[in-house]
């Protein structure tokens, strides 16, 4: 089963790459240029470019900066979002006070926060991390609230009649019962963080943390933007692919941790 999935995945990626290659080389291969697609550099060129970039410390610096920002924002979102969500789910009063504010702020796209955030936070770095934080924060809170509110009342009744205190009920019922939703929120949230960090880097001009200066210092978003300005299309796509891979690894990592902390959800 597992091996079959792996094989299917590999085949799918190969076919995708092949179609892309054929599409972007269609003019020289078939004498007919597929609209739009033929403008995109072929995957072979991108892979070549990527292997070249692998040897450049400035590329790693960019990847490192973006990863750092993602994890700063993500962990801050978990650290604040999980307790907040639980508190909102547990206390009706607290929910009544906080939820309206939360619901007004939630639909604001994280990117709309970028200018305000640049003004508000003392450093460029903090503004980007803050916008990244927002990307994951709302998703995590909403999932925690939903998960905790959906707990079957029978679990509380059973725990109560077996002599659990309020603290026991929180620790042994609410917390574990909400864990699956926390995992879902975190997995979705980290994906959003990647989307947000890149855009924030592009808009804000890459932050100020880079030691290499100029193009190298701004994270993957700035790297892509810079490649665009410099007219290097293969580099743009190489940057995009890097983000795709980084996002996949982050989600896979969280899924693994999630399976490990919610063993009762694993079948067989």
């Amino acid at each position: 089963m597992k091996r079959e999935d792996l094989r299917r995945g590999a085949v799918a990626i190969c076919v995708f790459l092949l179609l892309w290659e054929a599409g972007s080389r269609s003019e020289s291969w078939f004498g007919y240029a597929v609209p739009s697609v033929s403008q995109i550099p072929p995957p072979s060129a991108v892979l070549l470019e990527m292997s070249r970039l692998m040897l450049e410390p400035s590329f790693w610096e960019s990847a490192y900066l973006s990863t750092l920002r993602v994890f700063e924002g993500f962990f801050a979102a978990m650290l604040i979002g999980i307790p907040l969500g639980l508190a909102m789910a547990v206390s009706r009063t607290f929910y009544g006070i906080t939820f309206p504010v939360f619901e007004v702020l939630r639909p604001i796209p994280p990117l709309a926060w970028v200018p305000a955030s640049i003004i508000f936070w003392p450093t460029q770095e903090l503004s980007i991390a803050f916008v990244t934080f927002l990307g994951a924060f709302f998703t995590i809170v909403i999932n925690v609230i939903g998960g905790a509110q959906a707990i079957d009342i029978r679990y509380f009744q059973a725990a109560r009649s077996m002599g659990s205190s309020t603290w026991d009920i929180f620790r042994r019922i609410i917390l574990p019962a909400t864990l699956p939703s926390i995992v879902v929120g975190a997995t979705v949230g980290v994906g959003i963080t990647w989307a947000v960090v890149v855009a924030a880097e592009m808009i804000s001009g890459g932050g100020s943390a880079g030691s290499m200066g100029g193009a190298a210092g701004g994270g993957l978003g700035f790297f892509i933007w810079n490649s665009y300005v410099g007219g290097s299309y293969t580099q743009i796509v190489a940057g995009m692919v890097t983000i795709g891979i980084a996002g996949y690894i982050s989600s896979a990592l969280l899924r693994t941790v999630g399976q490990w902390i919610t063993p009762w959800l694993n079948e067989g």
């Binding site: 059973a158 009649s161 009762w264």
Partner: protein, 278 residues
């Protein structure tokens, strides 16, 4: 059969009334209900779905309040004038309709949960007792599985064992076998009787299955459709211990004949009133 075992867990329901919603416009769920659940026996309450029998069970368990009336457990008032909602406690454990084993705990963690929560036993002793009780109930080998990994019939047995861990005076079973197929059900009935003979705990059992009621019960209370009130109370004099051969005896058929009409009548009323399943 240890007849001399201390008889405890007798429940007396006196003139219990439960009204849902605002006074006047509210729905009457329980209507001046009075009957006894004798200690050390199985009392089965039969009534159409949605008739309000679960409301009564919840009042005994302390999950819901009464509107008036009182309930006593071994001559001690659980709820009544001045305190209409009983406090939930380990002396009255509910086994729920759809089961309430904690899915995030392994079966043995579930079974050992009560004594540990109450600080009655050291962890190690609680687990020793849990292991022993599970083995006695034929549940060896699934201790470290999660409830999601075993069949619903086995889950229900684990839950009953969990309920017995705290030595409750009375077990409150709310249609525990409703979701099971009839073959599994018959096995579950004999397993429940076996547990009952071993532990002699008072059992308050709710069902809409008349055959189940007569097979299990010392006493069968047939309820009217909503608002619920005892329509007929029967003492089933088929001797215990019982097994499935009872079902084909003439006495059993007589009880069925005597009660089927009454239950059917209420079922029709419930159907006409459009009571929804709950």
């Amino acid at each position: 059969m240890p007849r001399e075992a201390a008889r405890k867990g007798g429940v007396r329901i006196l003139d219990a009334v439960k009204m849902y919603g605002a006074e006047g416009s509210g729905v009457l769920a329980v209507d001046h209900c009075t009957f006894d659940v004798p200690a050390g026996e199985i009392t089965v309450v039969v009534g159409p779905s949605g008739c309000g029998k679960t409301t009564l069970l919840n009042a005994i368990a302390g999950f819901h309040s009464l509107s008036s009336g009182s309930i006593y457990l071994d001559e001690e008032m659980l709820c009544g004038p001045g305190r209409l909602k009983a406090a939930p406690g380990p002396d009255r454990i509910v086994v729920f309709q759809n089961g309430a084993l904690f899915p995030w705990k392994t079966n043995i963690d579930n079974v050992a949960f009560g004594p540990i929560m109450q600080g009655l036993m050291r962890r190690r002793h609680a687990y020793e007792k849990a292991r022993q009780m599970m083995a006695d109930a034929g549940l060896r080998g699934i201790e470290n599985n999660y409830p999601g990994e075993i069949s619903s019939g086995v889950r229900r047995r684990v839950e009953i064992v969990r309920a017995l861990m705290t030595d409750p005076k009375i077990l409150l079973l709310d249609e525990p076998y409703r979701a099971l197929d009839s073959l599994t059900k018959s096995v579950m009935h004999e397993a429940l009787l076996e547990i009952f003979y071993r532990n002699r705990v008072t059992i308050f059992f709710i069902t809409h299955d008349l055959e189940e009621a007569i097979f299990l019960g010392h006493r069968v209370v047939i309820m009217t459709t909503r608002p619920c009130r005892p329509k007929k109370i029967l003492d089933i004099d088929i001797p215990h211990p019982r097994d499935y051969s009872v079902l084909t005896t003439r006495r059993f058929r007589e009880f069925m004949d005597e009660t089927a009409a009454a239950v059917h009548e209420e079922a029709i009323k419930a159907f006409d009133a459009g009571e929804k399943e709950r």
